[in-house]
Subunit: 317 residues, 2 copies
């Protein structure tokens, strides 16, 4: 049985293998070639924490995966990260345990970054250069790094955060990684100037107004992953020429599209798997506004865990 | 972080600590002092397997637990056990992983044995001596051993199985463990002669008729744990003076009481936690027939995992 720490996982991680696996997993999810039990959820009101259990099997794969992800939001006060967790893989042939990946949440951050980058590349204008990221946390860094890795040319990143200071720190970290990045203060101007917008905040009220966004922009919305969260004005979602999500049920229930859905006017949602498999043509026109809402789905977890396992199994042979 | 193999878990297991913890967990479940997400279930039709994910938190405990249990029913043909799995514990204060117990399903077998023994001792006549166990598999051994450990005097065990040969083997194994045991062939006679009956088969049709059971008998039904399974004639459940289960929702949905429930005549179900906390008086009369149906609940898994963790933490300190 494979038993890996976060350090071992990060040191041996192969980005390209994971990207291919995650791309295939979105396609499998849209083709219903997956078995996914409902997400398990435990709340810990006394310690301001929660735990999500996402599990499933991509049909035909040798492993199935259970992901346990915790978020305890008082942890930073004690000097601990708020997120933690692990991935556990079992054989889909015999039910035997194959691996425990004590990734402390790193694989979730990475699969979220890769999912966002796949959506952004598939739906933005191929010549788009100017990227605005809202939110200056860990996912800002993962989104920028993954997008840069999947882009044929270097892009220009501007970072906006509710704390100007944190936005500066994040921009400097990206510069340290070799990206072209700076922070911005005026969000409306930054939105108007962007060709790609990536939202990664935990906001519960809209940050971007419908009339700020110029034609041809693509928006990847990552932050809204539970009931009540919202980063985009409902009118912006309704105005978009193409609205894509990772899993329709999740997006309407607790993703960015929950608010547009409750307006009763949302129609024609497309899943990212349909775009990535080219079953759907994607961006309808150069000047179209496109939005992808990613709530995060278990097939991404299964895929990235499978990619790590395959790497280690190949090395061991 | 604690990381234990089955061998380490078995070698260091403290039966009394686990019994106390499991008793308390039934009481907590009946008092709703637990958070339990719905059981996750993944099917693998191509390899005749399934996986159940049971998770939860007993309020006030320092750890919460996720149990992953697999059953792959073609495994024995390849010389592998059909059951496998592990328990994973996390801190309910910080969400950090505390332990991975690679018990290969042993803790599930043990908590099932302890649960059965607690129910049998609480509900049978205190002077009952003659125990009949239906089914000659692993759970026959766990039920007998746990019951013997919790009984003030040695009991007499007779084992009935659909394979007479397997019943003989199981009886010999119990004798090897120091118990007084033999196999029996005629089930109806054995039922009529028993004061305690424990059913541990995967039967999907009743094995025990209502009029075979004599007054004063207690029955602990363990086998029925999914839709379609049944070990007791529906008339026997309806005839019982007291019907107890571990969790009412589970028992009516996929336990022994599902069939009596669908007859529309079942009433007054009591939970084992109410008996163990003495909130309910239990056995109503010396000559009453009592039945406990145990489908297996996540609080047992949490409790036995917590007991193992406490043992190891205490030894490490």
């Amino acid at each position: 049985m494979i038993d890996l720490s976060k350090t071992e996982i990060v040191a041996n991680f192969d980005f390209g293998t994971a990207v291919d696996a995650i791309k295939d997993s979105y396609i499998a999810a849209s083709n219903k070639a997956v078995t996914l039990p409902p997400v398990g959820h435990i709340e810990f009101p006394q310690s301001n924490g929660d735990c999500h259990i996402k599990a499933g099997h991509i049909h035909g794969q040798r492993a199935f995966v259970i992901k346990i992800a915790t978020g305890f939001y008082n942890n930073p006060k004690q000097g601990l990260p708020s997120s933690n967790g692990m991935m556990v893989a079992f054989s889909a042939m015999t039910g035997e345990p194959l691996a425990v990946l004590k990734d402390e949440g790193w694989l979730t951050d990475m699969r979220t970054g890769i999912g966002g980058a796949l959506a952004t590349r598939a739906l933005s204008r191929p010549d788009a250069q100017r990227v605005l990221i809202l939110g200056a946390g860990l996912q800002c860094l993962f989104q920028a790094e993954c997008l840069e890795n999947l882009s044929p040319e270097p892009l220009d990143y501007v970072i906006w955060g509710r704390s100007m200071q944190k936005a500066e720190v994040a921009a400097k970290q990206l510069v340290g990684l070799g990206l072209k990045a700076r922070s911005v203060e005026n969000l409306q101007d930054a939105v108007a100037n962007a060709e790609i917008i990536i939202t990664t905040t935990p906001s519960t009220k809209p940050l971007i107004a419908a009339d700020w966004v110029r034609p041809g922009t693509h928006i990847t919305a990552i932050g809204a992953d539970c009931i009540g969260k919202q980063e985009l004005e409902t009118g912006l979602v309704l105005k978009a020429d193409l609205a894509v999500c990772d899993l329709i049920g999740q997006s309407l229930d607790h993703g960015e599209f929950q608010h547009a859905q409750s307006s009763g006017k949302l129609s024609n949602l497309v899943e990212l798997g349909q775009i990535l498999s080219e079953t759907h043509p994607g961006r309808p026109a150069k000047n179209a506004i496109t939005i992808s809402d990613l709530t995060g789905i278990a097939p991404q977890d299964i895929a990235i865990t499978g990619a790590v396992l395959n790497e280690f199994t190949a090395k061991a042979e």
